[in-house]
Symmetry: C2
Subunit: 476 residues, 2 copies
């Protein structure tokens, strides 16, 4: 079933050069898992008369979108934890302690269905591994960067701890988590013809010991893996670090040698602009989760400062129990808008910049830019065809101002995606995901979520949940 | 064709009381243009055995969404003016000066198609009237509050003026605009069985004379109309007021007696929290256009302060050449997120508050709460049925925490809308708008937009457009 296709007629945004690399009258040739050619339409059609022709007229063709930080199992808990302070402890933890393997799997499938439908081709998933986790991405035909959580927290997660308490860290638990993570990475890094890669994932500087962080750094260097870690992700983490070490997270990480090009630092919620700039200058990569941090914390992280200092910033949807969706079109829009607001400047983070963050720059942050992120001969054929004839993307103008990229960023919902390829294989056609049975994925997620909710309702701990008050007063 | 329908099985959010007025096992009966009954499903089914039954299982039923401030013709210019400073003068004006009647009509139709598809049932449109403007809303079967623009600006609009220059105001032009607006309001207020109402619309305090504002206020009182006006809408307006009168806009309006319950004040972009509170205390109503002002100015207006002081705040999508979309789901989400960010507090503007702003509170701001905004017997049957089985709205949970309203606000795109009624008539079914021919609306908008763009390209004035630089450098 070798792919031999030629996409014609589309507005092609290659992401080559410093902008969006727009090309008209250009065809893109897919052969097997790769982009074989990008060039003048008439010439490529003549050269490949037997390739299946994909009519892209009235569409934009962009590189597959890269979601660099997700917690896919939590999609099964969409909508249970918004509009509250101390989100993790007071809203989410009572649910996550009842998240079993079946619910996690249902969540991952639901998240892939939602995100793939909206053009996400690379999934940077971060979770406590469960049997079948990696296989789910392989079977769905998507690209994934998988990071099994490493922490030294006792069983039961964060439920039961009061805000402000110093957590206990268990050395044995942390060590076993590192061993399991190393075994996972050895098994999966490079699997499925390179569609799957893996990273080491200490959950945060407050959730493993200092020695474990140093050990993880040593292993990452030896095995040439990246470290994917939440950094300065909230007042909770900063408080823990201050209590434990007397310093803020960036200074702590710098002190133990973790700030360099091997670190993929997620969030930087509580980091100052100066800290973000200093981190960027060390070569550290950043993931910005605009929607999630906006809802959870009401904060816009200092990604603009990080980028000005030269660091690559990827986008991430984080998790649906806080975000509440997993859709890179949503993240692009919120990222552009939130940063304009943070800087009170409409010229900050224009549309073309956030489209690059969702494609080429995301690939750079994940260390995948030799494979994806641009429409370039030799790279993997991860592509998204967006129908511009939808009412909310009409009109399409090219002169004197081309309006396609602003409309993709500010007007698209993700539902305008018509076709998606990953490694040359069509995984979404006519807006339908081909590699998952949508109805059964939705039905299973619903059933699993109800089961988790029943366990939460039966658990006396749920009475501390802050959303019980708005339930009682008719606000939910 | 009298409507006799009963909607069963849906999760009903009536907006009664102080919250969202959730009801399960509840049916809603529609007779002619009104909601005839809301009550226990078994009882209402028994009482109305011959009514057509609408199966709402797996759906949420909410009041029709109210977009209180729009400029629908500008939908035809979607995407031509983002990521720039001095948006109106440096990006939009070169286009709007070439917007003729055919392009305006195409824009209005496109905007109705897009917004109605996403559940907007009341359209608060504000524009320079063109022949057929009001009829377009009547024909589309939607509810509209129409405000013809009144200004005293010389022909050609704002193109050609340099940032910082004081505009000339032409007394005769302003007086004739008032006369035309009064005639329009007399013709249309209450038309189409009350589906159309009208307001007087001085464009802004810097665009008519002081005497004209006072005259408009006198007419509004006499005729019992509201005044719909941009207030403190940008640094441009504040600069003009300072130059002309030496005061800021709210103080100016207070001084001439315009701040009271007859004023629907749009934007308040540049107003302080103290000014917003003072305005709310006078009875003034506010429209918040989160998406538009976020893109155009990078600013979150002081709507939270306005509401805390007791003033009603409606939502508005403004215009697609800046926003770039016209979708109340988008506005609800951005409003909740932007205000959390402005106040760095995730508890600010929870989901239920913005759902009220898009329904009941919007109706109050427009003076329509005796007709729409709630699901209540005797009110107009403006209703939206949203399919919750879409992947991005899955799961649906009710206990111990109901997640439907947070997911409608934070996860929905608007594309999950299945059916829409306006005044008892189904205008959207199975996600398709029934009252407009979608394909021809899109094709006409595309053709008209290309014609406008050709005129812009042929106009030497277009060379000052700030987006020509990103065009040249490959960023668009």
């Amino acid at each position: 079933m070798a792919t031999r296709e030629i996409i014609t007629g589309a507005h092609v945004f290659t992401m080559e050069g410093e902008g969006v690399g727009y090309l008209a009258d250009t065809a893109v040739v897919i052969e097997d898992d790769r982009i074989a050619a990008v060039g003048p339409e008439a010439e490529l059609l003549a050269r490949h008369p037997d390739h299946a022709r994909i009519d892209g007229r009235g569409c934009a063709l962009i590189p597959g979108l890269i979601d660099a930080h997700m917690h896919t199992p939590l999609a099964v808990l969409r909508g249970v934890a918004q509009d509250v302070a101390h989100w993790m402890q007071r809203a989410l933890a009572p649910y996550t302690r009842h998240l079993d393997r079946a619910a996690s799997l249902a969540g991952t499938r639901l998240n892939i269905l939602e995100a793939l439908r909206s053009g996400t081709t690379t999934f940077g998933d971060y979770t406590r591994p469960y049997p079948g986790w990696a296989e789910t991405f392989v079977d769905a035909g998507v690209r994934a960067v998988l990071t099994p959580t490493i922490n030294a927290l006792p069983p039961g997660g964060m439920a039961g701890w009061r805000v402000g308490d110093l957590y206990p860290l268990d050395d044995g638990i942390g060590r076993r988590a590192i061993e399991r993570a190393v075994a996972f990475c050895r098994d999966w890094d490079g699997a499925a013809d390179g569609r799957i890669s893996a990273m080491l994932g200490p959950q945060a500087a407050d959730m493993v010991t200092r020695e474990q962080l140093i050990e993880i750094r040593r292993i990452a260097e030896r095995e040439d893996w990246l470290i994917h870690m939440h950094v300065a992700q909230g007042d909770r983490e900063m408080e823990q670090l201050q209590q434990r070490y007397g310093v803020r997270t960036p200074a702590f990480l710098d002190d133990i040698g973790l700030l360099d090009e091997r670190l993929l630092a997620v969030h930087l919620t509580e980091a100052t602009e100066a800290e973000a700039e200093q981190m960027a200058l060390t070569g550290t990569r950043m993931v910005l989760c605009s929607g999630s941090i906006g809802i959870i914390d009401g904060i816009v992280p200092p990604a603009h400062a990080f980028r000005r200092a030269g660091g690559p910033v990827a986008l991430g949807s984080d998790q649906a129990s806080g975000n509440n969706c997993s859709n890179l079109f949503n993240e692009m829009k919120l990222t552009a808008l939130f940063n304009k607001i943070r800087h009170r400047d409409p010229t900050v983070m224009p549309a073309w910049e956030v489209l690059r963050m969702a494609t080429l720059e995301g690939a750079r942050a994940l260390g995948l830019d030799d494979r994806v992120g641009r429409i370039h001969p030799g790279l993997q054929a991860d592509l998204v065809l967006v129908d511009l004839a939808e009412p909310n993307l009409t009109p399409v103008l090219g002169d004197p101002v081309r309006n396609i990229v602003p409309n993709l960023v500010y007007a698209a919902t993700g539902r305008e995606v018509r076709q998606v390829w990953v490694a040359g294989r069509t995984v979404v056609a006519e807006g339908r995901v081909l590699t998952l049975d949508g109805e059964s994925v939705v039905a299973d997620a619903q059933a699993q979520a109800l089961a988790v909710s029943r366990s939460v309702a039966a658990d006396p701990d749920h009475r501390q949940m802050v959303l019980l008050e708005p339930m009682d007063s008719g606000r939910l």
